[in-house]
Amino acid sequence: MMKRTWLTSASILTLLVVYGVLYARQPGGPRVLLLLTDVLFVTFALLAAILALKASRMFEPGAAARWVWLLLSAGMLMLATAELLWTYHNFLDRPIPFPSAMDILWAIGYLPVLLSLLLQYRTLGVQISRRRKLTVFAIYLGVLIVAFVPLLGSILPNPGGVAAMQILISAYYLIGNLSVAFVASLSLLFLGQALVSRPWQYIFISILLFAVAGLTFAYGEWNNLYATGRNLLSAVVDVAYVAAYLLAAAGAYAQLTLRLST
Protein backbone atom coordinates (compact mmCIF):
# COMPACT_ATOMS: atom_id res chain seq x y z
CA MET A 1 0.00 0.00 0.00
CA MET A 2 2.79 2.38 0.96
CA LYS A 3 4.59 1.47 -2.28
CA ARG A 4 1.48 2.22 -4.34
CA THR A 5 0.92 5.56 -2.56
CA TRP A 6 4.52 6.50 -3.18
CA LEU A 7 4.24 5.50 -6.85
CA THR A 8 1.05 7.54 -7.33
CA SER A 9 2.61 10.63 -5.77
CA ALA A 10 5.81 10.21 -7.81
CA SER A 11 3.81 9.77 -11.03
CA ILE A 12 1.77 12.92 -10.34
CA LEU A 13 4.90 14.91 -9.59
CA THR A 14 6.66 13.62 -12.71
CA LEU A 15 3.68 14.53 -14.91
CA LEU A 16 3.55 18.02 -13.43
CA VAL A 17 7.30 18.53 -13.82
CA VAL A 18 7.14 17.40 -17.48
CA TYR A 19 4.22 19.78 -18.08
CA GLY A 20 6.11 22.56 -16.28
CA VAL A 21 9.16 22.04 -18.48
CA LEU A 22 7.02 22.01 -21.63
CA TYR A 23 5.31 25.16 -20.37
CA ALA A 24 8.63 26.94 -19.89
CA ARG A 25 10.23 25.74 -23.16
CA GLN A 26 7.07 25.87 -25.31
CA PRO A 27 8.20 23.52 -28.09
CA GLY A 28 5.97 24.22 -31.11
CA GLY A 29 5.02 27.65 -29.84
CA PRO A 30 2.29 29.10 -27.61
CA ARG A 31 -0.57 27.67 -29.66
CA VAL A 32 0.65 24.09 -29.23
CA LEU A 33 1.04 24.76 -25.51
CA LEU A 34 -2.50 26.13 -25.34
CA LEU A 35 -3.90 23.04 -27.02
CA LEU A 36 -1.79 20.72 -24.88
CA THR A 37 -3.04 22.52 -21.76
CA ASP A 38 -6.66 22.28 -22.88
CA VAL A 39 -6.28 18.60 -23.74
CA LEU A 40 -4.74 17.91 -20.31
CA PHE A 41 -7.63 19.70 -18.56
CA VAL A 42 -10.19 17.63 -20.47
CA THR A 43 -8.29 14.35 -20.11
CA PHE A 44 -7.70 14.57 -16.37
CA ALA A 45 -11.20 15.88 -15.62
CA LEU A 46 -12.66 13.03 -17.66
CA LEU A 47 -10.33 10.54 -15.98
CA ALA A 48 -11.45 11.82 -12.57
CA ALA A 49 -15.11 11.44 -13.63
CA ILE A 50 -14.61 7.84 -14.85
CA LEU A 51 -12.56 6.74 -11.84
CA ALA A 52 -15.00 8.37 -9.40
CA LEU A 53 -17.85 6.53 -11.10
CA LYS A 54 -15.95 3.26 -10.72
CA ALA A 55 -15.22 4.12 -7.07
CA SER A 56 -18.94 4.65 -6.43
CA ARG A 57 -19.54 1.02 -7.41
CA MET A 58 -17.44 -0.14 -4.47
CA PHE A 59 -20.33 0.81 -2.20
CA GLU A 60 -23.73 -0.80 -1.79
CA PRO A 61 -26.59 0.86 -3.69
CA GLY A 62 -28.19 3.47 -1.46
CA ALA A 63 -25.06 3.92 0.69
CA ALA A 64 -24.18 7.56 1.32
CA ALA A 65 -20.59 6.99 0.19
CA ARG A 66 -21.87 5.79 -3.18
CA TRP A 67 -23.58 9.17 -3.58
CA VAL A 68 -20.40 10.95 -2.49
CA TRP A 69 -18.49 9.41 -5.41
CA LEU A 70 -21.37 9.71 -7.85
CA LEU A 71 -21.63 13.44 -7.12
CA LEU A 72 -17.90 13.86 -7.56
CA SER A 73 -18.11 11.98 -10.86
CA ALA A 74 -21.05 14.08 -12.09
CA GLY A 75 -19.25 17.29 -11.15
CA MET A 76 -16.03 16.25 -12.88
CA LEU A 77 -17.98 15.25 -15.99
CA MET A 78 -19.54 18.70 -16.19
CA LEU A 79 -16.17 20.37 -15.66
CA ALA A 80 -14.73 18.13 -18.39
CA THR A 81 -17.53 19.23 -20.72
CA ALA A 82 -16.81 22.89 -19.92
CA GLU A 83 -13.11 22.33 -20.60
CA LEU A 84 -13.96 20.57 -23.85
CA LEU A 85 -15.93 23.62 -24.97
CA TRP A 86 -12.95 25.83 -24.06
CA THR A 87 -10.74 23.59 -26.17
CA TYR A 88 -13.19 23.86 -29.08
CA HIS A 89 -13.25 27.67 -28.86
CA ASN A 90 -9.47 27.91 -28.49
CA PHE A 91 -8.87 25.48 -31.35
CA LEU A 92 -11.08 27.49 -33.69
CA ASP A 93 -9.84 30.81 -32.31
CA ARG A 94 -13.38 31.93 -31.61
CA PRO A 95 -14.00 34.90 -29.30
CA ILE A 96 -15.28 33.91 -25.87
CA PRO A 97 -17.92 36.18 -24.29
CA PHE A 98 -18.11 36.75 -20.53
CA PRO A 99 -19.93 35.04 -18.96
CA SER A 100 -19.79 32.21 -21.50
CA ALA A 101 -21.61 28.88 -21.64
CA MET A 102 -18.46 27.36 -20.20
CA ASP A 103 -18.56 29.69 -17.19
CA ILE A 104 -22.15 28.64 -16.49
CA LEU A 105 -21.35 24.96 -17.00
CA TRP A 106 -18.33 25.32 -14.73
CA ALA A 107 -20.37 27.07 -12.03
CA ILE A 108 -23.09 24.41 -12.11
CA GLY A 109 -20.65 21.52 -12.44
CA TYR A 110 -18.78 22.67 -9.40
CA LEU A 111 -21.84 22.28 -7.15
CA PRO A 112 -21.87 18.43 -7.15
CA VAL A 113 -18.17 18.47 -6.27
CA LEU A 114 -18.87 20.71 -3.28
CA LEU A 115 -21.90 18.61 -2.28
CA SER A 116 -19.81 15.46 -2.51
CA LEU A 117 -17.34 16.72 0.09
CA LEU A 118 -20.11 17.98 2.37
CA LEU A 119 -21.86 14.61 2.16
CA GLN A 120 -18.57 12.86 2.92
CA TYR A 121 -18.25 14.98 6.07
CA ARG A 122 -21.77 14.03 7.17
CA THR A 123 -21.31 10.35 6.33
CA LEU A 124 -18.23 10.10 8.53
CA GLY A 125 -20.07 11.57 11.52
CA VAL A 126 -17.02 13.69 12.27
CA GLN A 127 -16.50 14.33 15.97
CA ILE A 128 -13.98 17.09 16.59
CA SER A 129 -13.62 19.43 19.53
CA ARG A 130 -15.14 22.91 19.21
CA ARG A 131 -11.73 24.44 19.77
CA ARG A 132 -10.15 22.60 16.84
CA LYS A 133 -13.09 23.50 14.62
CA LEU A 134 -12.76 27.18 15.54
CA THR A 135 -9.00 27.13 14.95
CA VAL A 136 -9.42 25.64 11.47
CA PHE A 137 -12.27 28.07 10.74
CA ALA A 138 -10.12 31.05 11.77
CA ILE A 139 -7.33 29.87 9.46
CA TYR A 140 -9.71 29.58 6.50
CA LEU A 141 -11.35 32.91 7.20
CA GLY A 142 -7.91 34.53 7.29
CA VAL A 143 -6.95 32.90 3.98
CA LEU A 144 -10.27 33.99 2.44
CA ILE A 145 -9.74 37.62 3.42
CA VAL A 146 -6.08 37.69 2.40
CA ALA A 147 -6.92 36.06 -0.95
CA PHE A 148 -9.93 38.19 -1.80
CA VAL A 149 -8.60 41.65 -0.91
CA PRO A 150 -6.09 41.92 -3.81
CA LEU A 151 -8.78 40.78 -6.25
CA LEU A 152 -11.26 43.36 -4.98
CA GLY A 153 -8.49 45.96 -5.12
CA SER A 154 -7.98 45.29 -8.79
CA ILE A 155 -11.67 45.09 -9.75
CA LEU A 156 -13.22 47.91 -7.71
CA PRO A 157 -11.36 50.84 -9.38
CA ASN A 158 -13.33 49.98 -12.56
CA PRO A 159 -16.87 49.56 -11.30
CA GLY A 160 -19.71 48.42 -13.57
CA GLY A 161 -21.91 45.49 -14.43
CA VAL A 162 -19.06 43.26 -15.59
CA ALA A 163 -17.03 44.10 -12.48
CA ALA A 164 -19.95 43.16 -10.24
CA MET A 165 -20.35 39.90 -12.16
CA GLN A 166 -16.64 39.18 -11.88
CA ILE A 167 -16.69 39.82 -8.12
CA LEU A 168 -19.72 37.55 -7.69
CA ILE A 169 -18.21 34.72 -9.72
CA SER A 170 -14.85 34.97 -7.98
CA ALA A 171 -16.52 35.08 -4.58
CA TYR A 172 -18.65 32.06 -5.48
CA TYR A 173 -15.63 29.94 -6.36
CA LEU A 174 -13.40 31.17 -3.58
CA ILE A 175 -15.97 30.92 -0.78
CA GLY A 176 -17.20 27.61 -2.19
CA ASN A 177 -13.70 26.18 -2.46
CA LEU A 178 -12.54 27.34 0.92
CA SER A 179 -15.75 26.31 2.69
CA VAL A 180 -15.43 22.83 1.28
CA ALA A 181 -11.72 22.74 2.03
CA PHE A 182 -12.64 23.71 5.61
CA VAL A 183 -15.12 20.84 5.88
CA ALA A 184 -12.69 18.44 4.18
CA SER A 185 -9.90 19.36 6.58
CA LEU A 186 -12.19 18.58 9.53
CA SER A 187 -12.91 15.17 7.99
CA LEU A 188 -9.19 14.57 7.53
CA LEU A 189 -8.40 15.66 11.09
CA PHE A 190 -10.99 13.16 12.30
CA LEU A 191 -9.67 10.31 10.15
CA GLY A 192 -6.00 10.97 10.89
CA GLN A 193 -3.75 8.43 9.17
CA ALA A 194 -6.62 6.04 8.44
CA LEU A 195 -6.56 4.13 5.19
CA VAL A 196 -9.98 5.47 4.20
CA SER A 197 -8.64 9.04 4.41
CA ARG A 198 -6.10 8.48 1.57
CA PRO A 199 -8.48 9.31 -1.32
CA TRP A 200 -9.66 12.41 0.51
CA GLN A 201 -6.14 13.66 1.09
CA TYR A 202 -5.73 13.91 -2.69
CA ILE A 203 -9.16 15.44 -3.19
CA PHE A 204 -8.57 17.97 -0.39
CA ILE A 205 -5.38 19.19 -2.10
CA SER A 206 -7.26 19.21 -5.41
CA ILE A 207 -9.90 21.54 -3.95
CA LEU A 208 -7.22 23.86 -2.56
CA LEU A 209 -5.55 23.94 -5.98
CA PHE A 210 -8.88 24.80 -7.61
CA ALA A 211 -9.15 27.71 -5.15
CA VAL A 212 -5.64 28.93 -5.99
CA ALA A 213 -6.17 28.48 -9.74
CA GLY A 214 -9.63 30.09 -9.72
CA LEU A 215 -8.51 33.13 -7.77
CA THR A 216 -5.34 33.65 -9.79
CA PHE A 217 -7.28 33.18 -13.02
CA ALA A 218 -9.88 35.79 -11.97
CA TYR A 219 -7.11 38.24 -11.05
CA GLY A 220 -5.24 37.56 -14.30
CA GLU A 221 -8.32 37.85 -16.48
CA TRP A 222 -9.39 41.13 -14.92
CA ASN A 223 -5.95 42.67 -15.33
CA ASN A 224 -5.42 41.22 -18.82
CA LEU A 225 -2.48 39.23 -17.56
CA TYR A 226 -3.70 35.71 -18.23
CA ALA A 227 -2.80 33.93 -21.45
CA THR A 228 -1.40 30.41 -21.52
CA GLY A 229 2.38 30.50 -21.78
CA ARG A 230 2.65 34.27 -21.44
CA ASN A 231 3.94 34.78 -17.88
CA LEU A 232 4.41 33.30 -14.40
CA LEU A 233 0.85 34.11 -13.31
CA SER A 234 -0.53 32.16 -16.29
CA ALA A 235 1.80 29.29 -15.46
CA VAL A 236 0.50 29.23 -11.88
CA VAL A 237 -3.10 29.13 -13.14
CA ASP A 238 -2.53 26.39 -15.72
CA VAL A 239 -0.28 24.17 -13.62
CA ALA A 240 -2.68 24.52 -10.67
CA TYR A 241 -5.68 23.51 -12.81
CA VAL A 242 -3.84 20.55 -14.34
CA ALA A 243 -2.71 19.46 -10.87
CA ALA A 244 -6.20 19.93 -9.42
CA TYR A 245 -7.82 17.67 -12.03
CA LEU A 246 -4.98 15.18 -11.78
CA LEU A 247 -5.27 14.99 -7.99
CA ALA A 248 -9.03 14.53 -8.18
CA ALA A 249 -8.38 11.56 -10.47
CA ALA A 250 -5.65 10.32 -8.11
CA GLY A 251 -8.14 10.50 -5.22
CA ALA A 252 -10.59 8.28 -7.05
CA TYR A 253 -7.75 5.93 -8.03
CA ALA A 254 -6.64 5.75 -4.39
CA GLN A 255 -10.19 4.76 -3.43
CA LEU A 256 -10.19 2.01 -6.07
CA THR A 257 -6.92 0.58 -4.80
CA LEU A 258 -7.48 0.76 -1.04
CA ARG A 259 -5.93 -2.34 0.58
CA LEU A 260 -5.12 -3.26 4.16
CA SER A 261 -1.44 -4.00 4.62
CA THR A 262 -0.83 -7.68 5.36
Binding site: F59, F190, L191, V196, S197, R259, L260
Partner: protein
Protein backbone atom coordinates in the same frame (compact mmCIF):
# COMPACT_ATOMS: atom_id res chain seq x y z
CA UNK B 1 -8.98 -10.66 31.08
CA UNK B 2 -8.96 -13.93 29.15
CA UNK B 3 -8.82 -16.01 32.33
CA UNK B 4 -11.97 -14.61 33.94
CA UNK B 5 -15.26 -16.15 33.03
CA UNK B 6 -18.74 -15.00 33.99
CA UNK B 7 -19.99 -16.25 37.27
CA UNK B 8 -23.26 -17.61 35.84
CA UNK B 9 -21.34 -20.38 34.07
CA UNK B 10 -19.89 -21.77 37.26
CA UNK B 11 -23.09 -21.44 39.23
CA UNK B 12 -25.30 -23.27 36.71
CA UNK B 13 -26.72 -26.61 37.77
CA UNK B 14 -25.66 -28.43 34.60
CA UNK B 15 -22.10 -27.50 33.66
CA UNK B 16 -22.51 -28.70 30.07
CA UNK B 17 -25.62 -26.59 29.49
CA UNK B 18 -24.00 -23.60 31.17
CA UNK B 19 -20.88 -23.99 29.06
CA UNK B 20 -22.90 -24.22 25.86
CA UNK B 21 -24.90 -21.12 26.84
CA UNK B 22 -21.68 -19.22 27.49
CA UNK B 23 -20.25 -20.30 24.12
CA UNK B 24 -23.44 -19.11 22.46
CA UNK B 25 -23.34 -15.70 24.20
CA UNK B 26 -19.66 -15.20 23.44
CA UNK B 27 -20.21 -16.12 19.81
CA UNK B 28 -23.14 -13.76 19.48
CA UNK B 29 -21.13 -10.83 20.85
CA UNK B 30 -18.07 -11.73 18.78
CA UNK B 31 -20.17 -11.96 15.60
CA UNK B 32 -21.87 -8.65 16.37
CA UNK B 33 -18.51 -6.95 16.80
CA UNK B 34 -16.96 -8.35 13.62
CA UNK B 35 -20.08 -7.64 11.57
CA UNK B 36 -20.23 -4.09 12.99
CA UNK B 37 -16.58 -3.41 12.15
CA UNK B 38 -16.91 -4.87 8.65
CA UNK B 39 -20.05 -2.79 8.11
CA UNK B 40 -18.29 0.42 9.15
CA UNK B 41 -15.36 -0.39 6.84
CA UNK B 42 -17.78 -1.12 3.97
CA UNK B 43 -19.60 2.17 4.53
CA UNK B 44 -16.47 4.31 4.51
CA UNK B 45 -13.89 2.36 2.50
CA UNK B 46 -16.07 0.20 0.27
CA UNK B 47 -17.11 -3.43 0.04
CA UNK B 48 -13.77 -4.77 -1.25
CA UNK B 49 -11.95 -3.34 1.76
CA UNK B 50 -14.54 -4.85 4.13
CA UNK B 51 -14.18 -8.20 2.35
CA UNK B 52 -10.42 -8.00 2.74
CA UNK B 53 -10.87 -7.26 6.46
CA UNK B 54 -13.00 -10.39 6.87
CA UNK B 55 -10.65 -12.52 4.78
CA UNK B 56 -7.61 -11.43 6.75
CA UNK B 57 -9.33 -12.04 10.05
CA UNK B 58 -10.37 -15.47 8.81
CA UNK B 59 -6.82 -16.24 7.76
CA UNK B 60 -5.54 -15.12 11.15
CA UNK B 61 -8.12 -17.35 12.86
CA UNK B 62 -7.30 -20.42 10.79
CA UNK B 63 -3.59 -19.85 11.42
CA UNK B 64 -4.27 -19.56 15.15
CA UNK B 65 -5.97 -22.79 15.96
CA UNK B 66 -9.58 -22.08 15.00
CA UNK B 67 -10.23 -25.30 13.09
CA UNK B 68 -8.27 -27.45 15.54
CA UNK B 69 -10.14 -26.00 18.51
CA UNK B 70 -13.67 -25.79 17.13
CA UNK B 71 -13.79 -28.21 14.19
CA UNK B 72 -15.21 -25.37 12.08
CA UNK B 73 -13.62 -24.49 8.74
CA UNK B 74 -13.48 -20.73 9.34
CA UNK B 75 -15.22 -17.87 11.12
CA UNK B 76 -17.98 -17.79 8.49
CA UNK B 77 -19.23 -21.10 9.90
CA UNK B 78 -20.31 -19.20 13.01
CA UNK B 79 -23.41 -18.15 11.05
CA UNK B 80 -24.54 -21.77 11.10
CA UNK B 81 -22.98 -23.27 14.21
CA UNK B 82 -21.88 -22.30 17.68
CA UNK B 83 -18.63 -24.02 18.68
CA UNK B 84 -19.00 -26.54 21.43
CA UNK B 85 -15.76 -26.18 23.38
CA UNK B 86 -14.64 -25.03 26.81
CA UNK B 87 -16.07 -21.49 27.13
CA UNK B 88 -12.93 -20.26 28.92
CA UNK B 89 -10.76 -21.31 25.99
CA UNK B 90 -13.26 -19.93 23.48
CA UNK B 91 -13.25 -16.58 25.30
CA UNK B 92 -9.46 -16.36 25.20
CA UNK B 93 -9.44 -17.29 21.51
CA UNK B 94 -12.09 -14.69 20.67
CA UNK B 95 -10.21 -12.03 22.63
CA UNK B 96 -7.07 -12.77 20.65
CA UNK B 97 -8.98 -12.51 17.34
CA UNK B 98 -10.64 -9.30 18.56
CA UNK B 99 -7.25 -7.73 19.23
CA UNK B 100 -6.27 -8.50 15.64
CA UNK B 101 -9.62 -7.32 14.27
CA UNK B 102 -9.28 -4.03 16.15
CA UNK B 103 -5.78 -3.58 14.79
CA UNK B 104 -7.02 -4.09 11.21
CA UNK B 105 -10.09 -1.89 11.72
CA UNK B 106 -7.90 0.80 13.31
CA UNK B 107 -5.67 0.72 10.25
CA UNK B 108 -8.68 1.12 7.95
CA UNK B 109 -10.79 3.59 9.93
CA UNK B 110 -8.28 5.38 12.16
CA UNK B 111 -8.43 5.30 15.95
CA UNK B 112 -10.98 8.10 16.39
CA UNK B 113 -13.46 6.62 13.99
CA UNK B 114 -12.92 3.12 15.34
CA UNK B 115 -13.75 4.41 18.82
CA UNK B 116 -16.86 6.12 17.53
CA UNK B 117 -17.98 2.93 15.71
CA UNK B 118 -17.41 0.81 18.83
CA UNK B 119 -19.31 3.30 20.99
CA UNK B 120 -22.21 3.21 18.57
CA UNK B 121 -22.17 -0.60 18.61
CA UNK B 122 -22.08 -0.57 22.38
CA UNK B 123 -24.96 1.87 22.68
CA UNK B 124 -27.09 -0.15 20.27
CA UNK B 125 -26.79 -3.39 22.21
CA UNK B 126 -30.11 -4.54 23.63
CA UNK B 127 -30.10 -4.58 27.47
CA UNK B 128 -29.53 -8.33 27.87
CA UNK B 129 -26.59 -8.27 25.44
CA UNK B 130 -25.17 -5.14 27.05
CA UNK B 131 -25.28 -6.98 30.35
CA UNK B 132 -23.46 -9.97 28.84
CA UNK B 133 -20.91 -7.68 27.23
CA UNK B 134 -20.18 -6.01 30.56
CA UNK B 135 -19.11 -9.40 31.84
CA UNK B 136 -17.29 -10.71 28.78
CA UNK B 137 -15.75 -7.36 27.66
CA UNK B 138 -15.99 -8.27 23.97
CA UNK B 139 -17.08 -4.86 22.67
CA UNK B 140 -15.36 -1.86 24.22
CA UNK B 141 -14.20 1.50 22.83
Amino acid sequence: MSGTLPSNIDKSADPTVANQAACSDLTLLFTLLITGLAGAIARTGGKPLADQFEQQLNRFATQHGWSVLTGLTDLNDLKQRVPSVDAKILLSVYLSYIRYARMLAGQALGEQMLKSVLLTLLNRLPPHLADLNRRYKIIFP
